[in-house]
Symmetry: C2
DNA sequence: ATTTTATATCGCAAATATACGATGAATTAT
DNA sequence: ATAATTCATCGTATATTTGCGATATAAAAT
């Protein structure tokens, strides 16, 4: 692109967009689903459940970790990942801004669209 | 990339990822915010509220429309866009799958991560 | 009829994302 | 000590996204 306009937007818009981007790939949704149903999880089990090479899964895990949605610690030979529910729920709640904004006037009538 | 693995994932994973991708750009979040607080909206007003060229905004609107999150009709000289709340709320509700999956065992203890 | 206005689409350049093999680093098993 | 295991990172190829000027389209105003 000619110019990166990212910083011309508001902080909350960037934050919500970044959260969305973190989960905007089926592999990362699948990883979150796997993590959500595990008490704890090593990377190996995640790789086995996905149609991707180990390097690719590791890269997706890195992105999820960078977004804050998952936490990870190295435990000896293996790594342990899990969802950071505090961060996750905070972001999901953030979607409420749209409903809040529409409280007064929204556009559900036939006459509009 | 060497191979596109998209179709190796489950339909619900693809659907949720696509929704996230549709809103994974600050401009599209900003557009949704503008639409949420308007009764109806022509593209011109949206362009004025964004730090982007008209062509770029039109492109973002096209993506949002393709995702189903917004509806649009051409009304004479102008176009009218608005949020499709039915679709929007359905997708937000879809995030519940993670909480559902974690109902039995999740990972919020210190001992895990 | 011509000009103006509003918006969409085309075509291109630059930036980012996706995917994977190869390799590295650290730990555990032999 | 050496080998095997587990996972991260590097390098690289290709695909997709982003952004905009130029142009097209179509209605409204003159």
């Amino acid at each position: 692109m000619a110019i990166n306009r990212r910083m011309d937007f508001q902080a909350d818009e960037i934050a919500l967009a970044d959260f969305a981007k973190a989960i905007s790939h089926p592999a990362r949704i699948a990883i979150l689903k796997i993590l959500a149903q595990q008490k704890s999880c090593i990377c190996g089990e995640i790789v086995e459940g996905l149609p991707l090479a180990q390097a690719t899964v590791s890269q997706h895990l890195k992105e999820l970790k960078a977004s804050g949605l998952i936490k990870g610690t190295i435990e000896g030979k293996t790594s342990c990942y899990c969802i950071d529910w505090e961060v996750f729920n905070q972001f999901v709640a953030h979607f409420g801004i749209f409903a809040d904004l529409s409280q007064n006037a929204n556009c559900q009538s036939q006459s509009c669209c």
